[in-house]
Symmetry: C2
Subunit: 356 residues, 2 copies
């Protein structure tokens, strides 16, 4: 994470300080007060009034009013003493792929949406896409450096999923954001994800330390909890692919106008589509993508023509010992002109016959 | 519509017979009974129980239970004696474009979603993507031949929109599906759309008459109501562009794996992105797309390489007399290899300064 270049689309994030509190701890941490008013955990919050009155059923869905605004259900809400933000989604017809289940791109879109709504609902949102007020004052934005997603099961059209997200500090100047996706009906955990973020000046495009004022905004939201247990996480460096080591190269990939986000950059989620363009068709058709790790290294604007590289060695045992894949690939997305790296990736695949 | 070729992704649709009843007519048409039980309007319906108990507020959103399943809000429901299907959506962060408002692609996705949920909720759904049971028995699918969308205003991230949809017969063997999108908060109509559908055999890929059994399924849902008044509709033929008449040609457009739908065809909505690829950048940046008409002529599979053509004459007065555009373009999306037509399109644009 130290020197990486970035993409600035998935800016982001805040949550509440509960470092060193156990995952299952009940009640509020000492000194932290939880009220539906204005001061919560020592910070001033501005929130849309919510009809949720507690966690009296597993999903926390209890209505205390006869008339409910659809916004309430279409957006999310805080649970677990406001350390966790939760939102439900139904998988839409246009979010499923050729095999009729949600695509990895869809899951990543939903993770992004939940993260951004988390910030907005926290009352900390500045004028940017996920930046806090103190960040906006300083022209700072969040940039993601690494995301790792593990999928146990992909949902179908019409299924409802429930996404939890929360944040914590990582290193001296980083933030970690985790997510868990549950099948709403069974409450089974079907996806786990973790990501690392740093701060960049949006004008100089240089990395920045987290200013004290920003740290103060964020700390009340931090909670020390891992979506992916350390022993199952993918923390290994992703090897750089070259023309020699990549058996498959797909050139001439052109971002479309519709791939641009509100910052006039390629949205990070779009990279997944291009990475998959160099994966063999029989794998796309007969295997499920069960794990994906992305290392973001450089921003990409619309004019850039891209190349997608995939290793041909279907390395089935080496690095994936803790993820038990049938197949593992290494990928690189780079600029076609100067070969500058944009994203490195690692994917694990399992046969659809075994993984459904 | 007579001989057109098609795309088969946006299959579709059913609703209830109320032909020749006026738009604002109150109460049930004679002989049609509306009960929350099993037989409605002479057809057997299978429906998810709904907590909605009527139309006592403008949106019909009244809750009669303390515990509400999120599905209820994430999916839609019937209103107006089950002749109209209504669904609310919040615009998500990844559904907005560079100008931070929902894109035309997003609107079309939401129209598709509402249409498909309409069929599913009607209890008529067969095994296909929008096909009825009697259609599925006969291997028949819906194919769209023409869609026309008029946008008054594009919404921002977090805004809630409410979409109404209904169907009617058109011609001897066609079906018309209309939509209206409202801003949920103000109830202002912000988008109107109409589309024409015919039936195709999914194996022979030949057009079919509507079999009597299918007609019987559909008729109870038909309602004679127009989203776009006849005098404001775009019914004119779209001229075929050629290398000579199209000043701008963008070649080498390649559908990605992620552009495929559950039928292994390019999803109809994806065509919009490619059509816009040949529109001048200054138009994409400084004008709003206020009207779009698509004439679908041929299916497209993943292997096809495409070309996008746009007329250079910014024809601002001729055909758009009833739509008052600042600019009008004609487009063609065709196969690169044999120049076979996939979609013809016409778009109207208004300056963002005037249209916001």
């Amino acid at each position: 994470m130290a020197k990486a270049g970035f993409s600035c689309s998935w800016h982001m994030i805040t949550a509440k300080k509960r470092s060193f509190y156990a995952i299952a701890s009940a009640g509020n941490p000492p000194g932290l007060e939880m009220r539906d008013g204005k001061m919560v955990n020592g910070i001033h919050v501005k929130e849309t009034p919510s009809p949720y009155i507690g966690n009296t059923n597993p999903s926390g869905l209890v209505i205390d009013s006869n008339v409910v605004e659809p916004q309430t259900f279409l957006l999310g809400r805080f649970v677990e003493d406001r350390f966790v933000y939760r939102q439900t989604f139904s998988i839409r017809s246009y979010e499923i792929g050729p095999d009729k289940t949600a695509t990895m791109e869809t899951l990543m879109n939903l993770l992004q949406e939940t993260a951004l709504n988390h910030v907005t609902s926290s009352g900390l949102a500045g004028d940017g896409f996920g930046a806090t007020r103190e960040m906006s004052l300083r022209k700072l934005i969040w940039v993601v450096t690494r995301i790792h997603v593990q999928v146990q099961r992909y949902n179908c059209w019409g299924d409802v999923v429930e996404i939890d997200t929360w944040v914590d500090a990582t290193g001296k100047n980083g933030m970690r954001r985790d997510w868990i996706i549950r099948d709403y009906k069974t409450q089974e955990i079907i996806t786990r994800a973790t990501s690392t973020w740093v701060i960049m000046n949006r004008e100089t495009r240089k990395l920045s330390k987290i200013p004290g004022e920003v740290r103060e905004e964020l700390q009340p939201f931090y909670i020390n909890r891992l979506a992916i247990p350390a022993e199952h996480n993918d923390v290994e460096k992703i090897d750089k692919l070259t023309d020699e080591s990549a058996g498959r190269i797909q050139s001439g990939l052109a971002p479309r106008w519709s791939d641009m986000d509100a910052n006039q950059h390629v949205n990070n989620v779009k990279y997944i589509g291009w990475i998959l363009e160099s994966v063999p068709m029989h794998v796309l058709e007969h295997y499920n993508l069960t794990s994906m790790t992305l290392e973001y290294r450089r921003e990409c604007r619309q004019s850039s023509l891209l190349e997608s590289l995939t290793s041909t060695s279907e390395d089935s045992n080496s690095n994936s010992s803790n993820r038990k894949a049938d197949m593992e690939y290494t990928h690189l997305l780079r600029m076609q002109a100067d070969k500058a790296e944009i994203v490195r990736a690692r994917t694990d695949w399992k046969s659809k016959l075994k993984h459904k």
